[in-house]
Symmetry: C3
Subunit: 659 residues, 3 copies
């Protein structure tokens, strides 16, 4: 269990450095992340490298017995590079991502990749064997803020090559995309346009899906390019890269990306910018579990909130106690390393409103003292359990192909949510909601990429929004049910194939037999509520309302809304199949309705659950020596968890004898 | 009375074709529309034509005794055309309408027109005399989705030529537009900019009006170009093109366009995309009457809703019975041919969520059975009346010049409505509202282009938003009133001339004497409500509130709103003029207030009306042999129409002895 | 005291001119403004000048004993200029400001400046000594509607030169901006990008601040360029330029700009476009005082509302009496010259909905009669006081540097307000709110640029949003307090330095000692309300909520909101310092809460105040011969001011013996 800070010595003066180290160590920190924005510092002119600054820093940290994660410095690049090779810059919806901000790199640009190879090689050669260097972070938040999609000419050219490599013949591409539709039959790879900005009707969904896959492959290759270099010249260091809040946001297959790295990191900001309230706590846990699940291993929070942050506006101010709570919650949900962003608040630059542990001045803040105390409180138990496997019998399954598909084809406006123009995170939020229903019942739950998951480890699998199917996965799921598993299957499952063609069967397609249900009609109700009844209990649903026709399934819930002609029709069914069961859920449920669903499902699967109200989160961890039951009170008021009275923002860890 | 389907055999397999024909025929369909998106199929390379696929299809349909409407294939074009001649592509607000979507054609491009002439000539020559071919559809939804306005350089050049042809000298243009204003005096035609995207203040209204007229002329010429070819090589076929929902949307003069075609078609989607509810039924009838009125002839629905549809999102699901109702309503309002969109739902492409009669699979849907039954129900009577003239004594008059004018100068934000960025349909919605008040009183009502209408056929003319006047029309209207007609004249009438200059008189300008009223003050209240009293009954109005000063008119209604200084001032007046009367309406009325107005007006004109509640629509038709009184219950609940109890979504046709 | 009209004889016919002059004179007008949009008229072809039209007009006005303010004709330019020199056009967010609208000039373009020098020189030489010419207006509303920011390549090049001139070395620029942040270290001036459109994270705040300063300098220089020419060739004339509503809108330092001109003008439209209601009257007075304060002299309203106006939409219709009220309010607040916009409403062009004194026709309007009467009513007293100094003991201080800073870094979304995409006027509105609280207590209040103000003239200074400090000003303020002044200091004061670096101290930085308070925590609550208590009285605040820690200050108010963890913490404090006091206000108060604050503050400072309800405004003026107490009833209902009963929209002037 390690604690550290993101540190930018280049932004302060030499007289600060040793003092800063002392302040960090006093707080309980033993590690720093350095250098991820320093390309311009280490290669001030093309080919002229100078790593002396970082060499000095590494010596200093080594002297003070702190170790270092080095960032490869490719998160931004020097102005001279953009000046000399303009094609290194991305374009988004016609807007050039110019030098002077960040996330500008065109990952398809050969000029960019050549320059990256040079600087990363030099850096790994020069600093990679320093004893202070414990590991590397490749780039920084790669693909964040919409930089996963690039509308530049360079990107288009690379896309055409990617397509050629995938489809071999243009006829094959025409057939697979269905280009006979609207008569867009290509004769030549160079006729393929960029599926970018458009006025009214958009581009072929098969094409967009491929455009997203191309970007994913390009970025995964880019990370591999760097990691291969670092592994070669800086051996025996652990490699990672840091993902970002709302982690499903990009089109990148992160589970694939991390096959080239040793562990997963992410940046945990429960509140950011002008948010009025922090994310609900189950959503934060969903994000932790997403990152934990990418490699099914303990993970790192590479940027853990330590102040409140924003670029030009701010919002919610974390209450006293909340910062330490979020830090502890991260550990409980599977983090074994916490690096706080950032040691001291920048006085200049775009992040001068991103408050760190210290303010712009250097006096000790309440946050410093709170985190110092929080670290000492959790360290004894965290040492025992943090690096152990997070135990769970239930998993919610996400799928990058469907994340991509629902970005461009949400079906319901309720599955369309764009907090910023370049993001459509309807899928993400819906997935988090399906997770939240289990979290609130205090059931340890995994959140896993469907393509990498061994289903046999679980009693219950929850599979929402699985519209675009993979045949081999469907088969494995069928086996899971057949052998006794409980599958909770969401609406619109089994709708289309990997080419983005609709199946010539009715939903849920290949799941129909195991689910014992057929769906021939549905309505898209957006965010409007539709009433149903779960036995006698009232519930509400929204987004999509499917009208279920059970073949062999039993009805668990029916629509009860007077305004709908399908009042009385089934909305949730359950079917015995083999030794297992399939619960089919034909609509997006409200949080309370999810509890109704999951309670019955968990009971059926023999998994214990409880409910301590909307602010208490209970988890179980197994340590090397002991077991733990952990209660978190996410509210600023006292809360009861059974007979335990939790203080505001308290994290209480109960130790149990090892089972 | 004909029923058919839009069919895309090129999207299915050879083994489907004969089976599809059998399924269609069983449903009662005898006609298909084919080929409107098939340019890439018939000219896969430049100059290399191949119509064998359609030849085979025509043979097949002929063999099975179904006939065919062929679409000229210009709705999209092959990628090679755009690659070779980039100027064939439109631009909108700086965004290229690229290949891969649709509606990309720059109608001003000589390269585009040359290619069109070639492919249409070849197609007409090759297929135009096939016995299965009963007629042609020119292009598809021409000008839809904002493609009526083109901001490309090619368009600008053509606009300058159009202006030169209209104004002869640049001095004449400067004078007519009033270019002394803000000092934009052109010396040369090439100095004229594109009235396109701008940052703050916009372009001269006289210029914008001409820019719209130029586009109308260009597109009308383009349709004529095609229809001349088709008539030459495929003689004795009926020609049409299909308009689209919210039919006033484009800047194109559709009544002019259809002088080159034999009959009017349109695409009737009472709900589309993520609409929460279908359009109100009087709005649907307004659209039917708009299309009927363009040639004052029976029309065709070329795409009649048969499922629910959308590109990336969906919405309202039509209730059982509602699809057949909308089909029958179309016939009642004047359609003599219904072609359903589409036979089977596409498995791929941008319309894979556009549900047709069948789903993605081929099992018979409830919709299929409902429409099959509906066709057999209405066919006997429809055969008698569908092709006869729709009788009416009342007409609402629309005017393309004012439709254009209010697009760029709505005066009130209440007349500004942009459901999508490229459309401003405030005029459309306001016109439909003036129509709706008569429809709800169950009065057969025409909706007619003012420039093509013989006023003497009517007892009552309703003329809203006639701000930009045509002197000859004003004279004809004066004669209509003088001879005993009742004119309902809307606010802001008689405001400006055809050059978009304000008249140097007070509203209603040349109508002042016949209306017996003068307007020197008005407020633009947006969508906020202002109270008035119609005798003792309360009413509300919005958008524009004119303060009427009667000269010879009598006051029918006065403002009664405490918040307005013009409380007590007249808002509606009535003036005897010659043998007739002019009712002047100084504000946009709420639906219920329109009923107050129209009841008194109809009573004065001796036209019977009734009111069966907000969901029942009654119409009269005259057949060759019998007369008909037709009741439609647009609700999912039972409804009373006098003593008749109508079932949910029932269309009941009462036969009467011929008068 | 002068009254006049904006007149466009070039838009009317020769037979109108003498008649127009007679109508104007009958109304009480003695002056016109002419020619500001007439470049195309006076230089129809490059180098071919023709001023005969204006010569004729000047003769005509001279004959009729009216005088003239000539506009230099650079507000728009002729199409031939843009055709020949495309770089004379601005760009905003990628959109070219093309010919055909207005505000297109790229003020950095040498071609543009050359052409301006020529035309202005010729005009001044030709017309500048005509006896009718009493003065000049340079350009028109310079920088309005977002034209203060130019994203063209020409602008970028000039920006780089400006930076070079400011920073001398690129290293100095890198250090000052903190370009080590995100590694944007420039090697060369030509690497500097345009801080324009961007996708996600924006540009360095230090850079943006300089980009704004550069534009300010460029435009100030441009006005100086013109005024130098005019002064040379048209001596002994008074020079001005006209500012615009919401006067802080641009990034231009207007107090600097007017050092080159003789008096300030502005364009007063209390309602414009589709506004539902006029601006609140204290906001209008704030705008008058802003303009008055720029030179601390009587000012001119160069465009005074005389009808209701808008480009494509209209809104609120001024009630009878309201137009004369706004005219009188302008005089009461410091205007000595009122020029009405415009004499007669344009029949063509983009402003055909901008109603003037007369309508499109020429009959006398109610507005004409109302203004005629209003002029004769106020003239006797206005002659005595209008040109005298507006007396005040209280001043609200605004600062162009902070206006710029809050545009790009509002900190709270409550300080972000963009009624149009190109404007962010959160600072402006907040400043007006701080002013309004004093206005509503009927205290004569100045509104002054902090850099030009002699603090010693005032008893109370109100300084909100002074985040970016100037050390010398802080010192002067400290002296003001020390010597007995009362300072009301707003939240986030003393946050950053002029390089846009955060100070390495806690807010309020250098004000801490005099305010006796420290702020280590704050929340940004947007526009949501937070409760507090001012002694026992309830108040609400929003935007920013600072948690104050008094060192030597006394607490005046505390948070009382149950939802906030800082309930009970101070929000307003007061500290004795030297002979004076500093009231520190840690949040943005609601209007009523401002009254609580100011009442206590004014009482402390010994300044009398009163409150006559929300619609009555009372002011004091000192004339040459008498003193005046003036009551304005801004409502359409009767109102009580103490024992005086004011009629709707009455302006009552009480004469007092001179003190």
């Amino acid at each position: 269990m390690i604690f550290g800070a993101d540190y930018y010595p280049e932004q302060w003066t030499p007289k600060d450095w040793e003092e800063d180290i002392r302040i960090m160590k006093n707080m309980g920190l033993t590690r720093v992340r350095l250098a991820e924005f320093s390309w311009a510092l280490v290669e001030p002119k093309e080919g002229k490298f100078d790593f002396s600054f970082w060499k000095k820093m590494l010596d200093l940290f080594h002297k003070h017995k702190m170790d270092v994660i080095l960032g490869t410095p490719t998160a931004t690049f020097p102005p001279w590079l953009a000046k000399k090779y303009p094609d290194v810059l991305q374009v988004r919806d016609g807007v050039l991502r110019n030098i002077g901000t960040r996330r500008q790199a065109c990952f398809s640009s050969p000029n960019y990749k050549k320059a990256v190879v040079k600087v990363v090689t030099k850096m790994a050669q020069t600093l990679g064997n320093h004893p202070a260097v414990i590991g590397w972070q490749i780039d920084n938040e790669i693909g964040h803020e919409g930089s996963d999609i690039d509308h530049s000419e360079t990107s288009l050219k690379a896309f055409r090559l990617w397509l050629k490599s995938k489809y071999k013949t243009i006829q094959n591409l025409n057939d697979t995309w269905g280009n006979i539709f609207w008569g867009v039959i290509f004769n030549d790879w160079n006729e393929i346009p960029l599926p970018g900005p458009h006025v009214s009707a958009g581009f072929n969904p098969s094409m967009i899906q491929d455009f997203y896959r191309f970007h994913s492959d390009t970025i995964v290759d880019f990370v591999k390019l760097q990691s291969d270099i670092v592994r070669k010249f800086s051996p025996n260091r652990k490699l990672t890269t840091n993902l970002y809040p709302s982690p499903f946001l990009p089109v990148i297959d992160m589970s694939e990306l991390f096959t080239h790295l040793d562990y997963v990191s992410w940046d945990n900001y429960p509140t950011w910018g002008d948010q009025e309230e922090p994310f609900p706590h189950p959503f934060i846990s969903a994000m932790h579990q997403y990152n934990r699940g990418l490699k099914d291993l303990p993970f790192t929070v590479m940027e853990q909130i330590s102040g409140f942050q924003g670029h030009d506006t701010l919002g919610y101010l974390p209450a006293p106690g909340q910062i330490q709570l979020w830090m502890k919650q991260a550990i409980v949900q599977g983090a074994e390393q916490i690096v706080f962003f950032r040691y001291r608040t920048a006085r200049f630059g775009q992040e001068q409103l991103c408050y760190g542990i210290l303010d712009h001045d250097k006096s000790l803040t309440d946050r410093y003292l709170e985190l110092q105390k929080g670290i000492s409180e959790i360290l004894p138990e965290a040492k025992d359990f943090a690096s152990e496997h997070f135990p769970a019998e239930v998993a919610v399954l996400h799928d990058i192909e469907n994340a991509r598909n629902f970005k461009h084809q949400p079906i319901s406006s309720g599955l369309k949510h764009s907090p910023v123009p370049f993001a459509q995170v309807g899928y993400d939020i819906e997935m988090a909601t399906w997770f939240a229903g289990l979290n609130i019942l205090n059931v340890n739950t995994h959140f896993l990429p469907i393509s990498k998951t061994d289903f046999s480890k679980y009693k219950v699998l929850v599979l929402p929004l699985y519209a675009m199917i993979d045949d081999s996965i469907v088969k494995k799921i069928e086996q899971f049910v057949r052998e006794g598993g409980v599958l909770v299957l969401g609406y619109r499952s089994g709708l289309k194939d990997k080419n983005s063609w609709m199946l010539d069967s009715q939903v849920p397609g290949p799941f129909s037999e195991m689910a014992g249900v057929k769906v021939r009609k549905f309505e898209a109700v957006g965010n409007r509520n539709v009433k149903f009844r779960f036995r006698v209990l009232p519930g509400t649903c929204s987004k999509i309302c499917e009208i279920l026709e059970p073949t062999t399934a039993k009805v668990w819930a029916r629509y009860s809304d007077n305004k709908k002609f399908y009042k009385g029709k089934p909305v949730i069914t359950c079917n015995r199949f083999g030794k297992g069961s399939v619960v089919y859920v034909g609509a997006s449920l409200s949080p309370i309705s999810f509890m109704l669903l999951y309670r019955r499902t968990l009971r059926m699967a023999g998994i214990p659950f409880t409910f301590y109200g909307p602010t208490v989160e209970r988890s179980f961890r197994k340590g090397k020596f002991k077991d733990y039951e952990i209660f978190i009170n996410h509210s600023g008021k006292k809360a009861l968890a059974g007979f335990k009275l939790l203080k505001p923002y308290e994290v209480r860890i109960l130790t149990k004898t090892k089972k």
